[in-house]
């Protein structure tokens, strides 16, 4: 049966009301989907990030499954340790999940991520990518996009976003996927698939942050959709090395169906200063990206 909102449990499995997320925060949306798809036998490993705060302070917690807060650079390694212990002790039918920000994934945690991926340890690693260090006050990360304002790139970042899912895919793991908060069912389907595969699974979830990206909190889903519809954030999966565009992105190989990038950029205060020139750079970037995607789609790429 294909997934629909109707056959996801109504019950909140993972995140309870009363958590400390900002209005419009994508993390709550993402965590709720994780809980509904993966169920109660799920351990969440969280490095230092906004999620450390969102769960609420001791002695309270808005989280209903076991959740382990860990040192910033080590979430993949802690998860490997948990998965190994479960294996050694015969604990079966569990999901060991890393829920890490882009800083904890693309920057300081990249080594541990790569190590766990190369060993094909049995975990699901989810990077929720809000494209900056939000918890410490919107500093740039290697996942911050070109020209985006952050508190450490006040005139706009000069470099492009690091392509972490592509890097992870090169580890020859069974499953890599991208997702967006704008398309929760696509994310849910990918989670469900990942939970049925043994080995290392990686999902990179674009998570628009109203505070850091400077847009109205009511627009989180809208911005998450536009990132995909403009072609900037393609939804795909790499299953056993075979690359496939998924969901709405399948239709975007035809350029005429892609929304102009400007529409996405102009919604966000972090791009307020960008010039027509910058937008051109972005348009070329998207066109080139889709030329590559066209070649990859349906092919065995690793």
């Amino acid at each position: 049966m294909p997934l629909s909102i109707k056959n996801l449990p109504k019950e909140e499995i993972l995140l309870q009301p009363g958590h400390a997320a900002c209005p419009g925060c994508p993390i709550g949306i993402g965590l709720r989907i994780v809980g509904k798809v993966l169920g109660k036998r799920t351990v969440i490993v969280v490095p230092a990030c906004c999620t450390s705060i969102i769960q609420g302070p001791y002695p309270y917690s808005a989280i209903k499954v076991p959740l382990v807060n860990v040192i910033f650079a080590a979430s993949a390694a802690v998860a490997s340790g948990i998965a190994s212990a479960f294996e050694a002790m015969g604990v079966r039918d569990v999901n060991v999940v890393v829920w890490a920000g882009d800083g904890g994934t693309a920057d300081i945690g990249l080594q541990a991520l790569s190590g766990a991926a190369e060993r094909n340890d049995n975990i699901i690693y989810i990077c929720y990518d809000n494209e900056a260090y939000m918890n410490t006050g919107i500093q740039r990360s290697s996942s911050t996009p070109y020209k985006a304002w952050t508190t450490t790139t006040v005139t706009g970042k000069q470099e492009f976003k690091k392509n972490v899912p592509a890097i992870v895919a090169q580890h020859r793991i069974p499953y890599v996927a991208t997702a967006s908060i704008g398309y929760p069912l696509d994310f849910a389907e990918k989670l469900q698939k990942a939970s049925k595969i043994k080995g290392f699974k990686y999902i990179h979830l674009l998570a628009p942050c109203p505070v850091g990206w400077r847009f109205d909190p009511s627009l989180t889903i809208e911005v998450g959709k536009l990132a995909v519809l403009t072609g900037l954030w393609p939804l795909y999966e790499v299953e056993n090395g075979v690359f496939r565009l998924t969901s709405i992105s399948l239709g975007l190989l035809d350029k005429s169906r892609r929304v102009p990038v400007e529409k996405y950029l102009r919604l966000q205060g972090r791009f307020k200063h960008i010039t027509d020139e910058d937008i051109k750079v972005y348009e070329e970037y998207v066109d080139q990206l889709w030329e590559v995607l066209r070649k990859l789609h349906g092919k065995k790429i690793v």
Partner: protein
């Protein structure tokens, strides 16, 4: 029947680990620790040890992985040295803060720069504020025995703190000596079955907990207080672990400290690790020359044996502390710690405490060196010129002048 084998210190550690039956091991290679993990891999591949070995990509991940595994309820082991220990430092703090009974062997090695792979206690002593129980062994037999005892101490519900077992680079780690390997059955009756009867809230789906979330100033101090209380209780647990081991295996080490010919001594030489063997030898020779000298081996740096040291040392004339490490800007680390313990609450009637900083980066300290150190101070003591303080020994000052 116990087996007698010729083992290096590292292999002795590996045999101790094998008998303790950890379920998850994670480690990253660094000289001089490597042969511990190589031997353990061999045990696992031959089916002699049923453990999952995570060959991680760094020490930071090694400590992180055993933290995860221990939290899931498994008995765990890791080992490192020097740079590796420093690299895992935030994980070292996490392990104790999380109250996980992890056991880690530290083959003590000098710290870079410049590169040096020989013994030095700077790496181990750098950990003394981390909340780990820290001990240091004198020989290969003690290395094996203390790995096993370390699990007994760490997992005790009165303690629940991780334990480091230190051994000197090369002097022990790569030097083979006869070692008695106890019977598996005996160690099985000494240690609880791994993964069972766990005294901390392991990850559970029936009782799902949020671990280590944000704690405001109104609660943080109490977590720290509980670690300090556990350290205090550990002193007794260390003794009990030693006594129970003695009953089953026939060897004991005396708890936090070990004394040698101290009872009637008026001069005591304090040392730690392999050097203690040389100190004991020097004591015998000095005794032959008519000096009333004894040796005190510091077995545990944390919890620090304050009471034991006071009892053994306060009434002596001279206490000589040999340090294989220095706290820059202060001095010998053990010298400082022992001075503070003996001075505590007293401002007179304490012995002259004199420190030597020596043997850094593997510089050889022989029995003759120890005799020289003692004789020098005796001369100054007798001429009334000796005061509290520390000095270098075997420093080649001409090289830097």
């Amino acid at each position: 029947m116990p087996q007698y084998k010729i083992l290096t210190g590292n292999y002795a550690v590996a045999y101790g680990v094998k008998l303790s039956k950890p379920q998850v091991i994670a480690a990253y290679p660094i000289t001089p620790q490597t042969t511990i993990v190589e031997k353990l891999s061999e045990f696992i591949e031959k089916g002699e040890l049923k453990a999952k070995m995570l060959r991680v990509e760094s020490e930071h991940s090694a400590i992180a992985a055993v933290i995860g595994a221990a939290l899931a309820g498994a008995r765990t082991f890791t080992a490192t040295s020097s740079q590796g220990l420093l690299y895992m430092h935030e994980g070292v703090w996490m392990a104790s803060g999380a109250r996980l009974p992890i056991v880690m062997a530290i083959v003590t090695r000098a710290i870079f720069p410049p590169w040096n792979i020989w013994t030095d206690h700077g790496d181990l002593l750098d950990q003394r504020d981390t909340g780990w129980i820290i001990c240091m062994v004198e020989d290969n037999q003690e290395a094996l025995d203390m790995i096993i005892q370390a699990y007994k101490i760490a997992e005790d519900e009165r303690v629940l703190l991780p334990v480091m077992v230190g051994l000197d680079s090369f002097i022990l780690s790569h030097t083979a000596t006869p070692v008695e390997v106890p019977d598996e059955d005996i160690i099985d009756s000494y240690l609880p079955a791994p993964g069972e009867n766990i005294h901390y809230p392991k990850i559970s789906f029936e009782n799902p907990l949020t671990y280590f979330n944000l704690v405001f100033p109104d609660n943080y101090m109490e977590f720290r207080y509980q670690i300090q209380e556990a350290m205090n209780r550990a002193k007794r647990v260390v003794m009990e672990a030693d006594m129970k081991y003695y009953k089953l295996v026939g060897r004991r080490y005396g708890g936090l400290i070990e004394t040698y010919r101290c009872t009637d001594a008026n001069i005591v030489v304090v040392s730690m690790g392999a050097l203690t063997g040389d100190v004991k030898e020097a004591v015998d020779r000095l005794r032959d020359e008519g000096y009333n000298v004894g040796a005190l081996k510091l077995r545990f740096i944390r919890p620090f044996p304050e009471e034991e040291l006071k009892k053994e040392l306060l009434h002596k004339k001279l206490v000589i502390v040999i340090d294989r490490a220095i706290s820059f800007g202060k001095g010998g680390i053990l010298y400082t710690e022992i001075s503070s313990a003996l001075y505590e609450g007293r401002f007179r009637e304490i012995p002259v405490i004199r420190g030597y900083v020596t043997g850094l980066g593997g510089r050889d300290i022989t029995v003759d060196d120890v005799i020289t150190m003692v004789e020098r101070l005796i001369t100054r003591l007798e001429s009334g010129t000796l005061t509290h303080g520390w000095e270098w020994f075997k420093l080649r000052k001409e090289v830097v002048e």
